[in-house]
């Protein structure tokens, strides 16, 4: 027996439950509109995309050169402190300052964002795909397939993410492999919670009439899984993907901090903090810029995830103010 009720990501509401369904809009459209109503989440999403575009374009990506004048590896004459000034606004030569040996810190931070975002997206994406497939198959077929897959999940879930991440990171690092390999390896050990959620979802969805109808119509198992059930479970998948992505960026920073993540001369936000933690009280900008972006990125992703959750499952919002006042009044009367 294993129990799978997750209240943070509640089960898919039934379509007829939804009062706005009568308007006749498609479900996707409804969700999209509800998401747009959540201003914080929309702003977060926009900001998140902007930061990524900014970071990737600044130092260039792969063969494409960036628009920023300094590279993250070349040394410059030492100037030290950030030249950024907000009023009157001017960037100066090294807006984020320079590190110990004179590398432009803006370039380093942007490169760090790139790598951290790559890790985040690969873990969020690949981890979600693997988790979804495993969860879907387990939940759909039940029986021994389910038992075997879920025991495998249990095996991996026993080991805390940072522990197995450190082991994997150590392997990737000591064999000199880059950020892509690291993040793919990390993704392969971060799919477990999604697999569990998707399985629970499938267990309940597979009993529905529309699945039965598809089966009677002669649809193949794969078709039922991916065309009929999965679209109904997409809410759970997307919401947990954002949560996974948010925790991935923290996992990467934690690993780099311990020395098991991305290694120099490459850059990552966690690595920058770890390298410069001794600069905390002396050259605080070396510490605070990467810290700002770690917290910022994680916060933005979390807000987007929160907006998505509300959009997919609006039930939590229906606890109305009026009702709340009733409760407070009764509590007040009683006490």
């Amino acid at each position: 027996m294993s129990v799978n009720i997750q209240l943070g990501v509640p089960t898919q509401p039934e379509p007829e439950d939804r009062p706005d369904a009568v308007v006749g809009k498609s479900q996707g459209r409804l969700i999209f509109e509800r998401f747009l109503q959540n201003r914080i989440s929309v702003v977060s999403l926009v900001l998140f995309v902007l930061v990524i575009v900014f970071a990737f374009s600044a130092t260039g990506f792969g063969p494409i050169p960036g628009w920023w004048k300094h590279s993250f590896t070349s040394l410059n004459a030492q100037a030290g402190a950030p030249s950024l000034s907000l009023w009157p606004f001017s960037l100066g030569d090294h807006p984020f300052g320079q590190n110990r040996i004179g590398v432009d810190y803006f370039a380093l931070v942007m490169r760090g964002i790139q790598n951290s975002v790559i890790v985040m997206l690969v873990i969020g994406g690949l981890g979600t795909v693997v988790g979804t497939v495993i969860g879907a198959i387990a939940g759909y077929y039940r029986g021994w397939v389910d038992a075997v897959l879920m025991r495998i999940t249990d095996v991996f879930i026993v080991i805390p993410a940072i522990v197995i991440g450190a082991v994997v990171g150590q392997t990737a690092g000591s064999s000199g492999l880059g950020v892509w390999v690291l993040s793919i390896l990390l993704a392969l050990v971060s799919w477990m919670s999604i697999a569990r959620l998707v399985r629970a979802e499938f267990l309940s969805l597979r009993e529905r009439e529309f699945v039965e109808a598809a089966r009677v119509a002669g649809a193949s198992d794969m078709r039922i899984i991916f065309k009929h059930i999965l679209p109904n479970a997409v809410g759970v998948v997307i919401v947990s993907a954002t949560l996974l992505a948010a925790s991935a960026i923290l996992l990467e920073t934690g690993l780099s901090y311990l020395g098991y993540g991305i290694r120099p001369p490459e850059s990552s936000l966690g690595l920058l903090i770890s390298d410069n933690q001794s600069a905390f009280s002396t050259r605080p900008w070396l510490y605070w810029w990467p810290a700002l972006f770690i917290v910022g990125l994680a916060l933005l992703v979390n807000f987007v995830g929160d907006g998505l959750r509300d959009a997919f499952d609006p039930r939590q919002k229906r606890f109305k103010r009026r009702k709340m006042r009733e409760i407070t009044d009764t509590v007040a009367k009683r006490s």
């Binding site: 040394l75 040996i101 004179g102 290694r263 001369p265 001794s278 905390f280 009280s281 050259r283």
Partner: protein, 601 residues
Amino acid sequence: MTNTNRWARRSAAAVAAAGVTALVLAGCTTGGTEGGDDAAEGGTITVAVTNEVTSLNGSTPQGNLDTNGMVGYLTGTTGSSGGASLGGFYTLDEEFNIVHNDNIGTYEKTADDPLTVEYKLNDGLKWSDGEDITADDLLVGWAIGSGYYNDATLDEATGEPTSGTQYFQLAGSTDGLDTTAMPEISEDGLGLTLVYGEPFVDWELGNLLDKPAHVLAEQAGVTEEEFIQVLMDTPKGDPANPVEPNETLKAAADFWNTGYDFTSMPTDESLLVASGPFIMSDYTPNQSMTFSKNPEYTGEDVPAYDELVLRFVPDANAQVTALQNGEVNAIYPQASADTLTALENANQTVIEGDQLSYDHLDLNFGSEVFADANVREAFLKTIPRQQILESIITPINPSAEVLNSQIFVPANTEYTDAVAASGYDAYAEPDIEGAKELLAGATPTIRILYNTDNPNRVDSFQAIQASATEAGFIIEDAGSPDWSSLLPGGEYDASIFGWISPGAGNSALAQIFKTAGGGNYNKYSNAEVDEMVDAAQTELDPEALGQLKVQIDAATAADFYGLPLFQSPGLFATNGTVDGIEFFGNQTGIVWNAQDWTIAE
């Protein structure tokens, strides 16, 4: 009736409960308060150090770590392999000159040919457990340091003895002492005379006070007299004719090899026996080690306080915060510019200096690209040594200078002569034009090996890469966290790494510069240099020795051996609660004058 019965039963239960309560309470209370902690009157000094203690014997290969060395220095049973200690025959001063330790005894050279050294212990010395320190202990120290009884033939590849027995496993070498004959013990049982088979340059480093004879004897299951008799009777080992190992000697050696390693406070107090002013009194794994005064110590290095605590804090920032917060009185962190500034911002007293280790760039003479001397010279001309120094070392030590010798440091008197002879000072700034001329349009590819986990090496590499590329070199990054295992392999053209020197002695010369020397990773070979190195090992005249070393330095420079980069900086700091802390650059580090510290009022 029922009512009274119920009450009777209830009161009986209550009485029983009260009785049990009283019993339990009596059982699990303590004898009374001790009224706070038991810190003694003279006070405690706490010092944060980076690494853990793992063994009370720092002379074995696995025990040869810096903090173990500190423990040996304070408690004084280091032996000839462990070197200077407060409880041994010599210590080192700030300039790394050997200072004979009068608190223990005297030793002097009485003849040059054959080289004869006389050791004499002070009368009335006692180990911390009350046993006398006698020439028997010196004989044991000699037996350990000379490898006299070893008859093992070691397999080149695995290091396993293919025949015979290797008794005491030393981190250092037995060079020098291995030529001595069985020593003679004087009539009064306090003196010992060593006769060397050939002259030995470092005879002054022969500290014969190792672990106590009576402790090793006890561990081998014999009395001290029997043990000494075994030492005297066992013939010198001959690898050509290995014999059955001597059981007693083997048992004692096995204990010496591993018995002093520990992970919790040893229950066997004989392990703690000390000859120096301090004795280990408490140990919390991974946290701290406490030393108190050795009650039997009669010398002058008695500390003015009661307890010295070493706390193991790996993280330099944690050390700084702890110092600032008063949890420790002094710290010995890994030096970095940020640590220094953090300390200065927190208004702590910083004591800076140069450590006896230096980073250097070596060219691999086994690689094809450097077979041409012009390419070697051209490459060396591109190294921006001044820039590397300024970006890495100057922030920590503003008065630091580029190191211009592979053998001496500026504190040595021979340094100026060596620089004049080798001409390393010409390489301070890169000479890109000169390098281009020498290359004559060629664009050799250079693979540079370095430790990617060491930020200083990464920075050096990046600076060299940027500069050498300008002259037309193609620099490949061959850096790896596994650099040390790649070092002997030779799959690189140049390497950046560091040597650590003990400060006194000349054993490094043969290791590094002699053909096929153990530390000669870059396959350097020059018959003339080999000869000079051999001559230096048996040179007893300090003046002539200095000249030889200057010549070796110059000869290697003429072959474009490589370039010394900088001497690593070191720093200690205190929050003003301790007086008397002074800088010292070898591995003993901050505790080198712990006996002179005082608690500030």
